[in-house]
Symmetry: C2
Subunit: 449 residues, 2 copies
């Protein structure tokens, strides 16, 4: 006999047990429902792409993290490491088949050979949404609203979106003669919530002088109100501009909708990436701010410059699904369940198989998920199965019940029994709403003679 193979998975990769996958899918379905309700459409792109298409000419730091190899046709191919680059390529490739503004969402796996010690995974799901082809306050605002709506849809009590404008920050740096050092400065500023104000000043002082370091920290500080913060930013950046005007426009709409409590102008939000040029934002859960931003993004002025001459401005965001799942777990907002099954039909006698499956079909027609225990085992084993799968109701039906057009229903959580009732009565007990509103008597006639 051959030696058994150990069924192990790669480090940084995960199997998902049913309750984990049900939770994850539930989360993705709710996000997707929100995106669709805002007019976003789904797309898909291949997992494997030509390496030079995905990484551009240079490649750079990302390279080492990218899973790439020669395929059987000797093509240098890579597994996608994010959903942004494939989207840029997609827009360039299909521009003539699409309309603008184009609003897409994409929820799928990406791979990065990262150090797993930091609790990071090498295979994880990204969830991106963007509005491309327009640079307007309304589209900026729509992304902000959608981030908030999607969190509400997930049952999060409240969240706050912190936003700022990269254009104003860049003007400020330019004003201070520090624009050429923006990459390092952004990297340091981005850490302020982790390392604190003083450490940021001291790190900044190493690349600017002490006065300018203090000024940077002054710039990124929130004041008492949107107005005060914006006034401070405006002054340090050298006056008003289209960028400050954009923030005012967005803030007015926030006010018109009475949402001032959910949005805050926070100039320390800069998003590290060079890519962003306009509005930038991060989303924090009010009950669990420590977990960090669960949804972030910003406006960029040129999505697909690697692939096309057409400038495609856009605004978008990405949800950190693993982080969000962890947060919902911690807040008790996750919907962990073992299965979708609502009713188990016990197998009392093999010859009634057709009847059991008929009953199951009738429950399903009423939107009640139902399964038949597949083998004639002892009742206590069938009860144990229902418990393991957390099935709330059981139907017990022998030849007499069948002959009488009746069933016995058992509430498996409180052991309450309803003996000799009709299928219609059973449906009303299992799903009171369903029983009342969508009754279509045709299918239960059999049981009401």
């Amino acid at each position: 006999m051959a030696k058994l193979i150990e069924p192990k998975v790669l480090k940084g990769f995960r199997d998902f047990l049913p309750e984990q996958e049900i939770e994850r899918r539930g989360l993705m379905e709710k996000l997707e429902e929100t995106y669709r309700s805002f007019g976003f459409v789904p797309i898909d792109t291949p997992v494997l792409e030509y390496t030079d298409v995905l990484l551009g000419k240079g490649g750079g730091e990302t390279d080492k993290q990218v899973y790439h190899f020669l395929d059987n046709g000797n093509r240098d191919v890579s597994m996608r490491f994010d959903l942004t680059v494939p989207f840029a390529r997609y827009m360039a490739a299909h521009r003539h088949e699409l309309y603008l503004p184009f609003k897409r969402y994409h929820i799928n796996k990406v791979w990065r050979g990262e150090n797993t010690q930091k609790g990071r995974y090498r295979e994880f799901i990204q969830c991106d949404f963007d509005i491309v082809g327009v640079d307007s306050a309304s589209s900026d605002f729509e992304i902000l609203l959608m981030m908030r709506s999607s969190m509400q849809k997930l049952g999060v009590k409240d969240c706050t979106v912190h936003f700022s404008h990269r254009g104003i920050f860049n003007r400020f740096l330019d004003n201070q003669g520090l624009l050429d050092k923006s990459v390092e400065i952004l990297r340091i500023v981005d850490k302020i919530s982790k390392i604190g104000r003083d450490e940021v000043v001291s790190q900044l002082a190493e690349i600017a002088d002490g006065t300018r370091a203090e000024r940077i920290v002054d710039f990124i500080e929130m004041k008492d109100s949107f107005k005060d913060t914006l006034a401070n930013m405006t002054e340090l950046a050298g006056g008003l501009g289209e960028d400050t005007e954009r923030l005012v426009e967005i803030w007015k709409a926030i006010g018109d909708m009475g949402l001032e409590k959910s949005f805050v102008l926070n100039p320390s939000i800069t998003r590290g990436l060079d890519y962003y040029t306009g509005l930038v934002y991060e989303t924090f859960l009010d009950e669990l701010p420590s977990i960090g931003s669960v949804c972030s993004g910003g406006r960029y002025n040129n999505l697909a410059g690697l692939y096309t001459k057409e400038e495609l401005p856009g605004v978008g965001a990405s949800v950190g699904l693993d982080r969000l799942l962890a947060a919902l777990d911690e807040l008790g907002q996750s919907s962990r369940k073992k299965s979708y099954t609502k009713v188990l039909i016990f197998q009392m006698e093999g010859s009634l198989m057709g009847h059991y499956h008929t009953l199951a079909g009738q429950f399903r027609e009423r939107g009640i998920s139902c399964e038949v225990f597949p083998v004639d085992k002892k009742l206590n084993q069938q009860f144990k199965f229902a418990e393991q799968k957390e099935i709330p109701f059981g139907i017990i039906c022998g030849p007499e019940e069948k002959a009488a057009g009746k069933v016995n229903l058992k509430n498996l959580s409180n052991r309450e029994s309803f003996e000799g009732i009709t299928l219609k009565e059973a449906i009303e007990i299992i799903n009171p709403e369903e029983g009342k509103s969508k009754r279509s008597p045709g299918n239960v006639e059999l049981f009401e003679k």
Copy 2:
């Protein structure tokens, strides 16, 4: 300026445009809904696995098709080429965390470096479902029922499941002294619908003699009824057995449910794979049988023998998603649409941005997907956008309408206009059902003063 990169995709890989992806997702969502209603739970496994875990020791013919490479840690890794092997590994790895019988579905991508000239793709979605840990007529039957239900859910008018039993076929071959040649015989028999009876006989005659070739073809022929076909199979296989009993049991349940027209015992169904040991089946669309089976599978006696000593019998099937999509397209049953958006709110004046997004939110609360045109462009351009995205309704609202708590609604398909109506009235026109049943006046008060 850097040279532009051509945004090309690899041969055998595909981008999905929104209307294609909406169709594909719609299909998968309906399948998933059916599986859940039958008590199946979702799982997930990694795309990358250790090559020796995925391919076993030998590997064999599949190897050349498998995308495999050395990762940065010098591990020999492979992209999954099906969902069955990962499921076997999964069951062995998580056996102690799961209950039996275990019913799972898994819908996700797999990769095979196949010859693309046959119209095959190198990246495609598989859709598998299995009941593991039990060998019973009821679980066999449940899989058959679920295949039928899922096709009905997709709007397919009628389909026929052709089934047989590999155990009887094997007994027959044994009886004829041909068991050692079963692999070649199965391969030839499997082609009968493509190459015809005569060609099958002549190919079989090359490995058996002429008489036995005729007998094989006699065995696999359908007679006038289930009873006659089974009688013929039984006789040629050397008498009754547990296998024939299983078929009788299943046929009785089919009869009890009045489904004889949807199922047919067809002994030419053998499924090429060595893997199967019991019931085997294929599903054909009555209106389009020529496209071949859209859902096939069978019973096996040992799922995870490579990884565990525990014998795990099971029964399952797999949907050919690409083929099914092609079939639905041909039958006009596909739901091609450009977006989910039902209402476009036209942008008449930038200062009303907050009001437009408030209106959009109120539509969404009623389950009506809605978006705001994001920039103050000429009306005809906004109409064109609505047309391109196939949005059926438009809301046009200027400062006077806002002041009066009214909107103008336009049916964009027939150009009918409803001027100066309340939001509530608009909702009732757009979604008559929704307007009536789920009215919760709280949110429309504003528009009914």
